[in-house]
Amino acid sequence: MSSRIGVVTFPGSLDDRDAIRAVTLAGAEAVSLWHADATLQGVDAVVLPGGFSYGDYLRCGAIARFAPVMEPLIKAARDGMPVLGICNGFQILCESHLLPGALTRNDHLHFICRDQRLQITNTTSAWTSNFDMNQEIVVPLKNGEGGFVADERTLDQLEGEGRVIARYLEVNPNGSRRDIAGICNEAGNVVGLMPHPEHAVEALTGPTVDGLGFFTSVLKSLVDNGKVLA
């Protein structure tokens, strides 16, 4: 039995199709989840994809956080189910308080779209275990509100506990504190990432296939934790 990984579509999600493709290429069964459903259909893990849920009205992710599907998702995440939030998904996870901090408007005010070099700085989370420590990867980055902020104490805590999972290399593209591109929760099952690994899973369409590592990592973690059979 292969792992079943859900991908939630909110009104305004953009990258749900690419996330489904990435999940499938990694070898899992992708399950489409709908924002208005109050069930996760028994999936083993969930990806919250990028986009502009609810038009980014109010604050990015602020309205999506109260979508019916988020109720079982927040509960499952607290119980250890792997959840990856990419870009808008990261914003939703912060708004849900599953991850600390917040994402704010890029310090230079421009929407940015580029291939971004990252350094992986955590290899124990559910979504990064297939990488090597300090491995450098290149995946697309595209955001208008990607500046990660948190108070100094929270930033110290994230760094001290090894919960910064990726940092921007060469250039800080959005003013994120301490070059943080992604973080995880204390248990390591919930990961938020501003750049887009789901756009870097095939040589034909991506700058690299570096992004696949996030999706193969979660498959490995599900097998290791006995959630699914290898």
Binding site: R59, A62, H108, L109, V149
Partner: protein, 81 residues
Amino acid sequence: MAIVVVDVALKPEILDPQGRAVQGALGRLGLHGVTDVRQGKQFVLTIDGEVTADKLDEIKKIAETLLSNPVIEDFTVEVKA
């Protein structure tokens, strides 16, 4: 009928690049001497009936959970009429 106004502003320590861009425009339009601009949001809630203490508490709770993000924003709630 009553009006309740919720003002939301970024915390002072959070960078406000939009406010800074507005500040730049002010100078170009000839308004000088503005040392800082902070941009916020205002929600005007029209309430059916009277705003009781309980109702005000409910509104404050919503201001804290939905209308603002306490990680980066402060808010004030004011009953207008």
